[in-house]
Subunit: 556 residues, 2 copies
Amino acid sequence: MEFSEHIKTANVEDVVLKLPFQPPATGTLCVTGHHLLFSDRKEGGIRQLLLLLRNIDAVEKRTTGSSGTIIIKCKDLRILQLDIPGMEECLNIASSIEALSSLDSVTDMYPFFHRPRELSLNDPWGLSSPEQDYAQTERLWDRWRLSKVNSDFSVCPSYPGAVIVPRAVDDDTLIKAARFRQGGRFPVLCYCHQKNSMVIMRSSQPMTGANRKRCREDELLLQAVIDESELGYIIDTRSAHQAHQARMTGGGFESKSCYRSWRRMHRHMERGKVLQESLIKLVEACGDTSHNMDRWLSKLENSKWLTHIHTALSTAGLVAECVERDAHSVLVHGSEGMDTTLLVTSLAQLILDPTSRTLRGFLQLIEKDWVQAGHPFQQRCSRSAHSHARLRQECPSFLLLLDCVWQLWRQFPLALEFSETLLLRLAQDAYASDYGTFLCNNEQERCALGVKENTHCLFQFLLRCKEREQYINPLYEPTELAIWPSVQPQSLQLWTGLFLRWTEYAETMNKAREEIWTIVKEHTERNGTEESTQTSLNHYNTFTVMENFMDELTIL
Amino acid sequence: MEFSEHIKTANVEDVVLKLPFQPPATGTLCVTGHHLLFSDRKEGGIRQLLLLLRNIDAVEKRTTGSSGTIIIKCKDLRILQLDIPGMEECLNIASSIEALSSLDSVTDMYPFFHRPRELSLNDPWGLSSPEQDYAQTERLWDRWRLSKVNSDFSVCPSYPGAVIVPRAVDDDTLIKAARFRQGGRFPVLCYCHQKNSMVIMRSSQPMTGANRKRCREDELLLQAVIDESELGYIIDTRSAHQAHQARMTGGGFESKSCYRSWRRMHRHMERGKVLQESLIKLVEACGDTSHNMDRWLSKLENSKWLTHIHTALSTAGLVAECVERDAHSVLVHGSEGMDTTLLVTSLAQLILDPTSRTLRGFLQLIEKDWVQAGHPFQQRCSRSAHSHARLRQECPSFLLLLDCVWQLWRQFPLALEFSETLLLRLAQDAYASDYGTFLCNNEQERCALGVKENTHCLFQFLLRCKEREQYINPLYEPTELAIWPSVQPQSLQLWTGLFLRWTEYAETMNKAREEIWTIVKEHTERNGTEESTQTSLNHYNTFTVMENFMDELTIL
């Protein structure tokens, strides 16, 4: 497509940029196909700001007389203001932003154009694959196999081409079981616990419907997971009532009589619109500047965000307890198996599995259990908390995961190899990114659009030496033990690093934290536990102050 | 008195002690005049626990059959349980605890008996005096003088023997002004700002009464504080409505017409019973183990504790702004001038004055503006949050101060030389201590009872080399600038270190924090900015595990 058709005014001089807690700056504003550029040539050097249009969640415009003001609310929760001389220019810029920030076509998005000098499209894409995972996990070989039944995505459109299933079950059985599960998401292996070989599986709900339909193959598949004398647990992320209700619309749950070796437990977790509205309310509360403590606490409570954090961590803790303490295998599902299911299974792995607590291991976990597992990032993250657009399938499931991981990180500041900065970076890139990793809703779509051939991989980029350092927790001390989070409500806190990121408070806190980290890092580096690269610890920032942004522009 | 008359059963064997998050221990319980001792002789060594009876806020007893259970709720918020074989023994122990934990006579209290080998009663007592303060602050000499008009405590029973007042005002004027202020608390100097010589004064309310009485001497005294062309601000810590109401009971406020150079501002702060109930509600909420997030947040909001923190910090910020940014002198008072007044003036000093942010400087501030200034510690801290006794004059003003200081410490982790451990230690010693510092309600009472001659000084003890280290913030980097706290409600948080101190969560957090501090300390020590003593960073704990407690016992 031609971006230029959306750009009636490409440049405006004498624009005033107002950023939170910075003095206003006057300079030139420039709209390109994917960015908003602001350059302020005063004070000797050039100060330039680059904002990915995709990061813009909502635009508000006001015109007064011959000039106008545009307020830009970003998906990373920042709010900035542009005062533009010339009413026409203002309206043109606003309509360009509106159009270009909400392009629907994936191949028009910036990752398909981002070509930094230091990366090549021939670089490896992704960190692992189901094939590699299987090949590297010897303890699986005896009872589990890699199935390529979904290699053309016909059995389950949202699954990757290869999945790990019980060795005793053949591909035909899988195909039939898939027909019995919503969206074809039949039970697959997610995690095998080293200590006792108990597993965590995930799927979508069984389509029993009002007639209590059965599927022998689905029953066989689950039976094959466990030994005869054993007992497995199904953790259903809906309330028992919701699960029963689901039968009216063709869904359902595993009945006791048909799945004799499995016990079902219900843990109600919110999803979809409820979660999205919770995020909107929370962000609204965080932006309230009325300086009224009661109102703030009441709004915080009313948003229910911390309640969702609490439920997610408790449910994950329950799954981890089943596996580690009681030595049972577990199947997790809700309805579609794409949101709360992934949230619970990935948190349980972080609790149980030391490997997933390393930087690479955590990114692999996100890749395996969110990207490849078919969490529909494009649908869920197309809008964030500021948009007034009618919500469709937006839902901050992934943000909730990152917040839960932050809570773990806070409670176990030595147990995770990665830093809060990594979580902030992922929170941001899921909504707007230079990289292709979070594009599309599943592997099938990514293949169809050639995402891996035509974009760069975020995870590979983050692990590069130069980047890596800022995502490392200098205090990391690996532990083989499970890390059991306290889920007392009193011990969970607002993730200020994310939700108060652009407030005065955050300025103070970030400065202090950076000074502390510098001291800690110097210490660990001197102790030789760290590579001794000497870059600074700046928080990652899309709206980067750039010395030279020509690299970014040449491709437009 | 004879403590033995309160001790019918001095020793019980086979008592089971249950502490939060520790396995139960079986051992011998012993009641002495001031302590509860528990010794567990198993596991090779001797494990002994020593609890100051004064630390006990409430006792609950249950008897079942031939044995009984005593639940002890401490003023430091810990709850512990003793299972005692023998119903009579249980009842005896319980009634000993009840009697000995609430002795009214100050000279019967433990500080009058505490004689550790390494301290001598001839050691210096206290860190400074009004005389020394005045002698050391040259910038005062021109316009301020030291008055000993109160040397026999007859002018103001709750003031120290010497105070700093305007040079232009003689002692007769002070005596008359004192008669016009509640409790004789006439306006005195509290702080003089180095940068611009503006001052913070404090007093109690003027006793104008319903007839709008005037006092020429009080007006002269305040007029003498500022130059003719200048303007001073009176920050009244009551609402305008409350101040007007106070006239009905003889109190009042400074009217515009009589105090022409002063502008009055009202900032309503809660006090007395309202604050005490707020603390009780907060502690109850923190102990709620229902695992319901909404309920927790609702209880937290309902306690209003964070609202009080918010108000105190905002008001202190206002005072500091008047002094530093607008260059006005300020007089602070509410009604009695012994609670909110001290809270606001001492927080304003921490914001403005780098000296008060050092370990010694902070302790001097507490000594000068709380102990010597006549905050009635004995009345305010005789009971804490667990007591079911009818409240009289209890009020956690000092705890609120410490919490506000903690909020500053959190927001400026490099600006304060002291650690959170110091704040926890002060919180504890204000309610129950081995030292005499917080005994009595004012200097007059302390003199009458010979506190300084017969007890040891906490502040001197804390500054001893061996102790000092744990109260030092290894990250301290002095700054001459004012530290302006963010008072957005979003930036204030629950002081988990105090209020969740005895929960599972705190166990995890403390462990992590200590490991982090160890790293940071090692770093700073290697950099030579710290004395290189090598004691460990254990949190201070009244219920100390002691190797040898004979020192404590010999004096009983």
